[in-house]
């Protein structure tokens, strides 16, 4: 935090990077920086790296200006600081280990549960037609378990982002307006600030590239498509009385397949890009958290696609258990892992849109 404060003072007396992203114009609206301000700026930063490559004072210069790394550290700390309930903020320490343990435990629990409640012939049997999945786990049990996990995740995320919003809210505390939210949706949806001010973001060297942006889009929209697939399937189930599994051409499967491909290709690309990234830009302490979350998404995508392809074989039972285990782990770890980056960054973008509007009007 102290280092972030020092850097913002350096940057605020230079301002050359003003055109690169939202962080620097937001910085210029302030002369001193509270912890809330720094958390706001840290989450506004998309880590495109342009300000590092463009800075005349980055290391080895004695002013040692490294904004992407410093804000990455502050960002990771802010996730723990706003976690709800407070008692669980410790999950952000050694987050990679925590996430992998929970994922392993969750998948093991589903396998064991399936084995305990089902006859082996049923577990390794071939099931087809409507309701095939629910022969292994009753739909109501599935809906109750996942509904509860999902609602808990939503609750924890809302409480966390409320704390964040309050902390960064001064001096325009209060509600977000529709225009700013719409602007933030656009900025987040196109990853406007993961763009180095227009040329692309920086990863392994001083050549701009749009690879990370592409992989992030695949991952994010893949995730949304999978979410949409589940939502449509839920509506099918309750409104139309149509039970999964559905034919390959049916909407939930089409959405899920496209999303699943995104969730496989995107995370692989992001992991490769991370492995190649200039270490100077990375917060190495959050490596486990980043990789843990990307791996969770990948696991969800892979098990889901495997389930789709092999659903008419005896492997369906174990794969369903694995997939459900992965998704369950993803849900319950959402408020305590890298997933929150999207939530806080979105809130920061809303705040920025408001500040811009107020700045222009005032």
């Amino acid at each position: 935090m102290q280092e972030a404060d020092r850097l913002m003072t350096v940057c605020n007396s230079c301002r050359y990077c003003e055109g690169l992203c939202a962080v620097f114009p937001a910085m210029e609206m302030r002369r001193s920086f509270s912890d809330g301000d720094l958390n706001y700026l840290a989450n506004l930063c998309h880590a495109c790296g342009a300000c590092y490559v463009d800075c005349q004072f980055s290391p080895p210069h004695e002013f040692n200006v490294n904004v992407p790394k410093t804000l990455a550290v502050a960002r990771a700390e802010s996730y723990a600081a706003y976690a709800w309930p407070r008692a669980l903020s410790g999950m952000f320490a050694r987050n990679g280990l925590v996430i992998s343990l929970i994922a392993a435990f969750s998948m093991a629990a589903f396998i064991l549960g399936f084995a305990a409640f089902n006859d082996p012939t049923l577990l390794f049997g071939v099931h087809t037609g409507p309701g095939a999945f629910y022969r292994l786990m009753p739909h109501n049990a599935m809906a109750a378990l996942f509904g509860a996990a999902f609602l808990y995740a939503i609750l924890a995320l809302i409480m966390s982002v409320r704390a964040f919003w309050r902390d960064i809210g001064e001096p325009i505390s209060g509600r977000a307006d529709g225009g700013s939210i719409f602007q933030a949706i656009r900025d987040a949806g196109e990853l406007r600030y993961l763009h180095g001010g227009g040329v692309g973001c920086y990863n392994e060297d001083d050549r701009p590239t749009d690879r990370r942006k592409l992989y992030h889009h695949l991952t994010f929209y893949g995730f949304l498509l999978c979410f949409a697939a589940t939502s449509v399937a839920t509506l099918y189930h309750y409104l139309l009385g149509r039970e999964a599994p559905y034919a390959w051409w049916d909407l939930p499967v089409v959405l899920g397949s496209l999303g699943g491909i995104g969730l496989i290709v995107g995370p692989i690309g992001l992991l490769l890009a991370k492995a190649q990234r200039d270490p100077a830009l990375l917060d190495d302490t959050s490596y486990g958290m980043d990789v843990g979350f990307i791996a969770m998404l990948f696991l969800t995508g892979v098990t889901g696609m495997a389930l789709l392809v092999l659903r008419a074989t005896p492997a369906m039972g174990p794969l369903l258990a694995l997939h459900l285990g992965a998704v369950f782990a993803l849900f319950i770890t959402m408020p305590y892992g890298k997933f929150v980056h999207g939530i806080y960054r979105f809130a920061a973008l809303v705040r920025y849109a408001q500040e811009r509007r107020d700045g222009l009007n005032g």
Binding site: S13, C17, E18, G19, R31, C51, Q56, F57, G198, V199
Partner: protein
Amino acid sequence: MNSKYDVLVIGGGNAALCAAISARRAGASVLVLEGAPKFYRGGNTRHTRNMRCAHDAATEILTGPYTEEEFWKDLLLVTGGQTDEELARFMIHESKDILNWIVEQGVRWQPSLGGTLSLGRTNSFFLGGGRAMLNALYLTAERLGVEIRYDAEVVDLRIEDGMFLSAELKQPIDGATEMRAAALVAAAGGFEANIEWLKEYWGEAADNFLIRGTPYNRGSILKMLLAKGVQEVGDPTQCHAVAIDARAPKFDGGIITRHDSVVFGIVVNKHAERFYDEGEDIWPKRYAIWGRLVAAQPDQIAHIIFDSTVVTSFMPTLFPPIAGATIAELAGKLELDPTALEKTITEFNAAVRPGTFDHTILDDCRTEGITPPKTHWARRIETPPYLAYPVRPGITFTYLGTRVNRQARMLMKDGKPSANMFAAGEIMAGNVLGRGYAAGIGMTIGSVFGRIAGREAAKNARN
């Protein structure tokens, strides 16, 4: 022995890269020798942020037209006539096309930065600043096949009868320390980082100068060229200097060590005495005089003193102001005589006449009955805490250079054009900028003459 390269460019900043790209685009094989390591490549271009170019209409990033005639008048004003009118007008004309040409080389523009609205009409700002601009030029040069070597210090030049033969390198390249080329572009900057050289004109005072930019502009190439028959231009005793924070590093503190706060307070020397009218003119027009004024004071140190009412009137600063609850306490921290500082401020406060303060115009807040007067923006310093910035002369660049013609071709002492030697950038800026400075003009000189030097050198080499 055949030359390995058509064009050898010595230097690595804006002018050098524009020359290298333009020569390469004209079909020449090009080698760039940058004396600095890769991180510090580009001399003072790293610290720049904009370029002054003429244009007849507003653009996406420029708020209005800036005609060639207006540019010329501004240049005439800042140089006090110490310019080569024909060359200057030629450069101004060429600057129009540079606005587009430089974009074709990958550089991106943005509107003027916060705090620089006064330049919004005349100057185009580099998106991401000078290092971003350099990075773009380097990427373009590499893509075109220009060869670039870092840490490539040139220790001697072989020149015969105004004809460049070869450069001698400190470290061998491909096993050879002698690099021949058909033509030379010298774009290696001035000598502002060479304290020994500055001492020839400024004496021991130069030891107290801070160098705002690269430590690599030691003027060695300039010195070699002048020693080997190239005609000099510009006043060797002069350099551009502004007042910068005395706590700044000796070299490379860059833009963020500057102070824009002179007009909001008073400036005293080590004897706690005022020595110049702080309200003479509007920033940035008078920004540049304070470096020399401080250089002329004992021990080359001064202090800008103001009170807590004006803190938010200027850009936030890298180094925080030094504060004292009383004048005496502040004096103690600045190692000034408390009685003397109290006396100076009391006399100043008593001399302030009522007026309506407006720092954007030459307002009517002034003093009466003290010497020197403060002719504008004079307000009492009376609201603690009392604050101060210690300042020293910060040297930006030097004026001494090599004389060139419209082809950026160096002229020899006898007035004859060199057979194959060209110059661009700070090393020849004295041709058009004999003294003074206008924001962004150094980059104009670099890009315009760099582009021309590269093109002409390529033509020369291929004949």
